[in-house]
């Protein structure tokens, strides 16, 4: 994958790598303003200010416990599912605060999809039912439309050819890599603008991981992707922008090439060269 032209690093010019093809639908950018997150009294995120550009892959890296998973769970309001969890600050999607009064948590989650670390297809549903679960569980009944959407999404994740003759099989009967692609298809089916991925490849073998990384690179033409990964090489391969977090604070954020060639912060340098701890 060739790296496009370097820009001055202020994020204003996006290189050839990031061109939208014809007919690509734009995802939404996300603006995070002074975000703090708590588990009860314990603070997990400290004043995070971050701009996630649309139609790009942004990776969050950092050592365990740095808050990267907490951060993305705040974006789609999954953080508040934990008892006693709370949040302050703003997260703007298309300029509208997802924590503001005008948006319901479930509305937010319909516009921001999520893929989890361990593939979690619904075990008592078939493959095609799994893909359109987001639609069916929200009341869509039209079988034609559901089948069409299932086919589209399975094609997008390159699973259609592998499973088209076995759509009625249980979702759990696929291999790990296939299951994860199924979960991605399921997230795509509700037509979100943003896709959040929490360490999507950590439970997969290298071949499956490579397929998913290639898929992510394609997805960004239509969606904004935010991926949490503990594998720095994955971030350097897949992401256009990388954010480094440590102990709940955002230490550095910039174009991936810059972060991995000449990071500005000493802490970032120490983490990515493995001199931590």
């Amino acid at each position: 994958m060739p790296v496009g032209s370097r820009d001055s690093g202020d994020g204003s010019g996006f290189a050839a790598l990031n061109e939208l093809g014809p007919g690509a639908s734009p995802g939404a950018g996300i603006e995070i303003k002074r975000l703090c997150a708590f588990y009860g009294r314990k603070q997990a995120l400290y004043d995070i200010d971050l701009r996630i550009p649309p139609n790009q892959v942004t990776a969050m890296i950092g050592p365990s416990g740095c808050g990267k998973s907490t951060l993305i769970r705040c974006i789609n309001r999954m953080h508040e599912m934990i008892p006693d969890a709370s949040v302050s600050g703003q997260i703007l999607l298309h300029g509208v605060d997802v924590y503001g009064g005008s948006m319901d948590a479930t509305d937010v989650r319909r516009r921001i999809g999520m893929v989890f670390q361990k593939p979690n297809p619904f075990p008592n549903m078939s493959i095609s039912d799994n893909v359109v679960a987001g639609l069916k569980l929200n009341g869509v009944r039209d079988k034609g439309r559901l089948h069409q959407r299932a086919k589209e999404c399975l094609e997008k994740v390159y699973l259609w050819d592998e499973v088209k003759d076995e759509l009625k099989r249980s979702g759990a009967s696929l291999s790990g890599g296939q299951q994860q692609r199924l979960c991605i298809a399921r997230a795509l089916a509700i037509e979100p603008e943003v896709i959040l991925m929490d360490e999507p490849c950590s439970a997969l073998d290298p071949t499956a991981t490579a397929k998913i990384e290639e898929l992510i690179a394609e997805l960004k033409t239509q969606y904004t992707v935010v991926i949490v990964t503990h594998n720095m090489q994955q971030a350097s391969r897949v992401a256009d922008h990388t954010a480094f977090m440590y102990l709940g604070k955002l230490i550095e954020y910039g174009e991936t090439a810059m972060i991995f060639e000449r990071p500005r912060e000493e802490l970032t340098e120490r983490y990515i060269t493995g001199k931590f701890g």
């Binding site: 479930t106 979690n120 075990p123």
Partner: protein, 277 residues
Amino acid sequence: MTSRRALKDRILIGLTFVCVVIAIVPLATILYYVTVRGLPAISLEFFTKVTPPPSVAEGMGNAVQGTLLLVGLATCIGIPFGVLSGVYISEYGKNLFGRTVRFFGDVLVGNPSIVFGLLVAIVIVSPTHGYSVVAGSVALGTLMIPIVTVATAEALKMVPNSIREASTALGVRKWRTSLLVVSNAKSGVATGALLATARIMGETAPLLLTAGSSTLWYNGLWRPVASLPSYIYLFGISPFPDWITLAWGAAFILIVIVMGINITVRMLTRRRSDAGG
């Protein structure tokens, strides 16, 4: 040295064996006597005829009918309220109220059943001046509720959280997610309901205070009704050998039904664990 340890080993194993035998003896004796004494009483007439005059052994059809009726109506109370309470505790009750409800559920499961009978006697039988089917069903139903609640809550606890997360992340409303969780715990919930039904089938004490007994076939919701447990009691303490034989027959039928339910449950759970792996 080794032979002494081997000896100790064998003594301990022997002791355990003896204890098991002692434990089984009453159970085996019951089964033996019930079968030997009860089987002769079973005939078509047992199910089709009503309580005979003393010294004539004819039938207990009304008791069988009464038991089926009482248990049937009880499940209409016990299962819905029990399952919904179990769902509440598991899905909505991560707070003090939920924990309290769970606590009371656990306590009531072990409560002496005659207390439920007493409660219903005061609340229903007294004002309506008499034993009734309604009173009996309410007593048995109320007795069922805690059992089903606790069993449902436990079954739902076994459903992995990844399913709830996946559903919530798709923007599915909370109630629909809970429904999905229940459908994943179908067999666990069904098992709980079946075991609770088996349990109340043999409850005698509450019925004595609420449904009373009757020598007639069912003749009205607000009239007393016969039931197998109450007849076992009444006929069993009578001086008439024919009636005593009928009592054995009733005991036999009851044990057969309860065993049947237990075996069904066992078969269902084994099939599930085979399939799930």
